[in-house]
């Protein structure tokens, strides 16, 4: 057992962990941040995606001990303190980019990482970037549309019933 400290969503966090404690276990079980999900055990589904020191990583494939001293951002830290959704979150709601919601935290965190590096991605860039995020509900149509919209691009040419209100 050892002690780790990190900055999670801007606040200091600490806890006692085993060597084998995964970052996602530390977030969910120790800190109670259950917004980060576990959908597989082979590092493919991406439901556990968080940012460590500003970079998207799969928190199920990183030990908590390796995040000692790091800055970690999760889905719980994305909205404003008053609960107002950020641009990406709001676009996911506006464009119906989620259904059951289970993959959604990972999708939002991946989208945030993409838009940080590539502020105006093409459709293909969005689709390729999401290789490590599996959604079973949406067929990705509205996820891709939401991310393009969140980047400030015009999505009116993309088929679908809805435009942002």
């Amino acid at each position: 057992m050892s002690e780790v400290t990190m900055t999670v969503n801007g606040k200091p966090a600490r806890g006692t962990i085993e060597g084998r404690t995964l970052l996602v276990e530390f977030l969910r079980d120790t800190l109670g941040l259950t917004g980060t999900h576990v959908g597989c055990d082979t590092s493919q589904c991406g439901a556990c995606t968080v940012h460590v020191d500003g970079k998207a990583v799969k928190s199920c494939t990183m030990f908590a001990a390796e995040a000692d001293g790091a800055t970690v951002d999760t889905i719980e830290g994305q909205a404003a303190p008053d609960g107002t959704l950020n641009t990406i979150q709001q676009a996911f709601q506006d464009y119906h980019g989620l259904q059951c919601g289970f993959c959604t935290p990972g999708m939002v965190m991946s989208a945030a990482a993409l838009l940080k590096d590539t502020p105006k991605p093409t459709e293909i860039e969005v689709r390729r970037y999401l290789q490590g995020n599996i959604c079973r509900c949406t067929g990705y149509h509205n996820i891709v549309k939401a991310i393009l919209a969140a980047s400030g691009q015009d999505v009116t040419g993309i088929p679908g019933e809805i435009a942002a209100e």
């Binding site: 999760t74 909205a79 259904q99 689709r127 599996i134 959604c135 088929p159």
Partner: protein, 793 residues
């Protein structure tokens, strides 16, 4: 409702943003694994790593001494518990009931598939439980595994269940009386087209793995199960009454936020019963969280049919008969609705959109040493559509006629239409759907697009597909005759609160479908108030009326109708109250835009005035009606609903590698009335991805020993964002359902039902365009399979 009818108050036809999204987007959803109860222990299931074996003994002595172990359970502990029940009994061609094996919570004498649970170790931590599992001494004699369905039916084949006569669960004929007539029609036909095909086994793969937490209160004697379920009341009934003998009033089942189901979370699973049982035995909450690897070995799987279909045509290309011979894999045990899938949910759709007068199916359901197979999105209807639309496509190619023209020529055009396979289509317009598809998909422009693809060195193909489904299941008295051991009504309680807000308790469960947003739109429309005044409660047997749950695209058609009926009762009662206050007669009261008026006068009362009066009944017709404003309705439909569609897909095949990419996918669906177009679009998108997944990439494969080869996302290919195009979907040509109050038909499964054949037809078209003599490739059309097909033809 037509789109040009302007929606009022976020009512029917509007696309308000989903209110459930806020919690999902901010990480504050409440999924079962997010629940942790004080003092909970953890269970790990020791699962069989062989497909078939006889348990000679289990040595628990070392494991029981391991740190943290609370108790190890084996099949011995459940001798008095019931078998995990099957909810549907099939009667075979000869009038005999299906063979129905016992399905214990934990294995008793044998292991029958890889993943079959042998022992359950409950410990203080999950790591401790897993450690102890490795210390259990297993004395299991490996037996030959039966994997291939044909081999399973051979004389002398090893039996999956010793105590059954054979591996044949049932031999079903439908319509049995037509057997001879169909044979005669086929032997005298001008043309017969035959396709032999495999409908590949699917792993449902809801992104949230299953979780169960059992809890028991010694003080009250109440048991609670938190579970990832599409239908908590069904689980309460099946588990309470048939497995653990707990009366419903002492058992609460909670299915909170559920991360997708696609059928796989309909069924009652052993782990649910185990956690409920163990919580009482240990007087501690017991939690099980399935890993994805474990899900591959324990979630019921889907499809897995091997079929030969023959289509007979007369000299004018009219369809005269369809005959099929299908082997349907049940796996090692009968999962909750398994026998209904290859029979009623499949056979009743074998007429498709066509006026084929004679249809006969022979379906033999087979036990094998594989994971049980049950409903997966579409459930039986994708299997029906796939074979029918493949054989029609092949017939068109053989006859040299346009595939759409051949379909159109044979369309059913008059409604209601009694099919030769028991069901009566109430409404539809297949030509209008085909017209819509041809326009939306720009089929005229295909030739030019094919040339562009060829210029890039790619083969382009166009596939079309028409389909009809039976949804909104369904009339209880009918399904009872067909062998269902349950009713299939739905329920709703509409509770109007004193200040006018409304809480609707529904038996339908939402796990992605957006009920919390769409259901209020219906009530808002009826009363004329803002949809935000209405809240939906679901998922907890403690606070919702008995409901049969969400599957078979039934929520809005059956659950929504129950809500309409309850709201009608509310309105009737509210009018009485309003009449009393305004000193008018009931019949003169009108409710519009949330306001009660007396016809022909300027008297009016606001919605909130009446609801307040119901709870503060000072000026109130107490001799006529009770105080309060709360009504419950159960709705039992009098027919299935029949959504239909026409789909087109354009693919490119890389001739060097066999890789298929979807270039364009267009749908024209008839869902009847559409409550929330945005949500309906989303349902179609997701269904398409699953159907395209089945067609191109997903495949659950066992080796000859019954080991699952595609046992993780490393080998089971899930569709990703870069496998999919933007879809062009349309549902503007709805013909309202004639027998439910909303005119709705259901949209949850259409995409999955209509897309596989569309894709395969397109790939065959692409290959033939390059001169390959390929008339069928079995799904999934992986690069390997397409390349191999090109080498052979």
């Amino acid at each position: 409702m037509p789109k040009d009818n302007a929606p009022v108050h976020g009512g029917i036809g509007a696309s308000p943003k989903r209110r459930e999204d806020v919690r999902f987007l901010s990480g504050t959803g409440n999924y079962t694994d997010d629940i942790n109860l004080r003092g909970q222990a953890y269970v790990h299931f020791l699962r069989s790593d062989i497909a078939h074996g006889k348990i000679n003994g289990l040595d628990l002595s070392e494991a029981e001494q391991m740190p943290g172990v609370l108790r190890i359970f084996t099949g011995e502990d459940f001798k008095t518990a019931g078998s995990i029940p099957c909810g549907w009994q099939i009667t075979d061609r000869f009038g005999q009931p299906m063979q129905e094996p016992r399905h214990p919570i934990l294995c008793e004498t044998h292991v029958r598939h890889v993943g079959d649970p042998i022992a359950a170790i409950v410990a203080e931590t999950l790591h401790q439980a897993r450690d102890a599992a490795e210390a259990i001494g297993l004395d299991i004699e490996e037996l030959p595994a039966v994997i291939d369905m044909r081999a399973a039916l051979e004389d002398g084949a090893t039996k999956v269940h010793d105590d059954l006569a054979s591996n044949l669960c049932f031999d079903w004929g439908f319509v049995e009386e037509n057997r001879q007539a169909v044979d005669d029609a086929i032997s005298s036909a001008a043309h017969v087209t035959t396709v032999e095909l495999v409908n590949n086994r699917m792993v449902p793969n809801a992104m949230e793995p299953r979780v169960a937490i059992g809890d028991y209160n010694r003080g009250t004697g109440d048991s609670t199960l938190y579970t990832t379920s599409q239908n908590p009341h069904v689980i309460r009934l099946l588990m309470g009454a048939f497995v653990l003998n707990i009366p419903e009033h002492k058992l609460r089942v909670v299915a909170p936020d559920v991360g997708g189901g696609f059928g796989s979370k309909i069924f009652h699973y052993a782990e649910e019963a185990f956690c409920t049982f163990a919580a009482k035995a240990l007087n501690r909450p017991v939690k099980w969280t399935c890993t994805r690897s474990e899900a591959f070995l324990s979630d019921a799987q889907g499809r897995d049919h091997v079929t030969k279909i023959e289509l007979a045509l007369d000299k004018d290309n009219n369809f005269t008969a369809v005959r099929t011979d299908t082997l349907a894999n049940m796996g090692a045990y009968l999962s909750t609705f398994a026998p209904s899938i290859p029979t009623w949910l499949h056979g009743t759709l074998m007429a498709g959109n066509y006026k084929t007068p004679l249809v006969y199916l022979n379906v033999r359901a087979v036990f094998t040493n594989t994971i049980p197979v049950d409903a997966y999105r579409g459930a039986g209807r994708p299997e029906a559509t796939y074979q029918l639309e493949r054989v029609i496509d092949k017939a068109a190619r053989e006859l040299g006629v346009d595939p759409i023209a051949l379909r159109r020529q044979n369309f059913v055009t008059e409604f209601p239409y009694q099919t030769p396979v028991a069901v009566e289509y109430d409404a539809g317009d297949f030509h209008r759907l085909a017209d819509k598809l041809e326009a939306k998909a720009d089929l005229e422009g295909f030739a030019a697009r094919r040339q562009q693809s060829e210029a890039r060195g790619k083969l382009r193909g166009l596939g079309v597909n028409c389909f009809i489904e039976a949804c909104g299941i369904a009339p209880s008295n009918l399904v009872g005759q067909l062998g269902a051991r349950a009713g299939l009504y739905e329920s709703a309680t509409v509770r109007v609160n004193a200040t006018g807000g409304i809480t609707v308790m529904t038996g339908s469960h939402s796990h992605g479908q957006g009920h919390e947003t769409a259901f209020p739109q219906v009530v808002a429309d009826m009363i004329g108030i803002d949809a935000n005044m209405i809240e939906i409660v679901h998922g907890d047997t403690a606070n919702t009326p008995m409901g049969m749950g969400t599957y078979g695209s039934r929520s809005i058609a059956v659950g929504g109708s129950a809500m309409v009926r309850a709201t009608e009762k509310i309105i009737a009662k509210a009018k009485k109250i309003a009449a009393h206050i305004m000193e008018a007669s009931d019949e003169d009261i009108e409710l519009k835009d949330g306001k009660f008026t007396v016809a022909g006068t300027d008297k009016s009362l606001a919605w909130g005035d009446v609801t307040l009066a119901a709870y503060v009944p000072h000026n109130y017709p107490l001799d006529e009606v009770e105080p309060g404003l709360e009504e419950t309705a159960f709705y039992d439909p009098n027919n299935f609903t029949y959504p239909a569609g026409a789909y087109a897909c354009e693919v490119e095949v890389d001739p060097e590698t066999g890789k298929v990419t979807i270039q364009k996918f267009t749908t024209a669906d008839d869902f009847g009335t559409v409550v929330n177009p945005m949500i309906v679009d989303g349902q179609v998108h997701g269904g398409l991805a699953q159907g395209i997944g089945q067609a191109l990439m997903e495949n659950c494969i066992y080796d000859a020993d019954g080991q699952l080869l595609s046992a993780s996302y490393m080998d089971y290919c899930m569709p990703r964002a870069d496998d999919m195009p933007f879809f062009v979907v349309d549902h503007s040509n709805g013909t309202p359902c004639t027998h439910n109050p909303l005119g709705v038909k259901g949209c949850g499964e259409a995409g999955t039902i209509g897309s596989p054949a569309t894709v395969v037809n397109a790939v065959v078209d692409a290959l033939q365009s390059a001169g390959h003599k390929v008339d069928h490739v079995d799904m999934p059309l992986t690069p390997l399979r397409v390349w191999s097909a090109m080498q052979q033809g």
